[in-house]
């Protein structure tokens, strides 16, 4: 009996932590005023936010259900793919000239991120007006 009560409190804690971090990430996504700064806020959603909710689900199913660790698969997948997609989004920001630019390379070389057709390299209209 006591064991189940303690488990319920642990589940409650995990749910509250997960929801709080998700809220922090969403507020950061909405309030920060630079593309690269905004990139940092939703990483909290992808790790602690969803991680807390999945942990709550694991504990709940382990105590009140059959008990399986399937949710760790989702957790592992999210933790592995989050840095990759963040890297891609940062490259898109650099490519669209929406952030500080890296220094020029010596000689005729160019950064591979900017390597594309000329028409695509013109900066966005709203990026200039900022």
């Amino acid at each position: 009996m006591t064991y189940e009560i303690v488990t319920l409190y642990v589940i409650t804690f995990c749910l509250i932590v997960g929801a709080a971090f998700t809220l922090i990430g969403a507020i950061g996504l909405l309030k920060f005023n630079d593309s690269m700064t905004r990139l940092h806020a939703p990483t909290k959603v992808g790790t602690v936010g969803v991680g807390g909710l999945l942990l709550a689900s694991i504990i709940y199913n382990g105590v009140f259900g059959e008990g399986a660790m399937h949710e760790t698969l989702i957790m592992a997948f999210l933790f592995v793919t989050a840095p990759i997609s963040a890297n891609f989004i940062a490259k898109v920001n650099m490519h669209r000239r929406a952030c500080d630019q890296p220094p020029e390379l010596p000689g005729d070389e160019q950064w591979a991120t900017f390597d594309l057709v000329e028409t695509d390299n013109t900066p966005d209209a709203d990026t200039i007006s900022q």
């Binding site: 749910l15 990759i84 997609s85 990026t127």
Partner: protein, 95 residues
């Protein structure tokens, strides 16, 4: 037992409300932009929030049937984020 159960149910409802709110905030970021990177990022965040909502629904209904759904959404979300970013970067997805 009842107090702890009530507390968990309240936390569950609060988590539903908060994550729904976060989903709306990410949607606002999708609409206002301003650059393509922000829109991709906001869509990625919306996918992660959707996984959270589905996991919460699994806890609330006490079933395990939503596990596969959230796993597939996680995979599709990653692939679509990479495809969108790759399209912006290279003008093509598969070269």
């Amino acid at each position: 037992m009842t107090l702890a159960m009530d507390l968990m149910n309240y936390a569950l409802i609060a988590a539903f409300v908060v994550i729904g709110l976060c989903q709306m905030m990410a949607m606002i970021r999708v609409v206002i932009g301003p650059s393509t990177g922000d829109r991709i990022l906001a869509l990625d965040t919306m996918v992660v929030n959707a996984i959270g909502l589905i996991v919460l629904m699994g806890i609330a209904q006490g079933t395990r049937v939503y596990f596969e759904v959230s796993l597939i959404i996680a995979m599709l979300g990653f692939v679509s984020t990479v495809a969108y970013a790759r399209f912006v970067l290279r003008g093509d997805i598969i070269e």
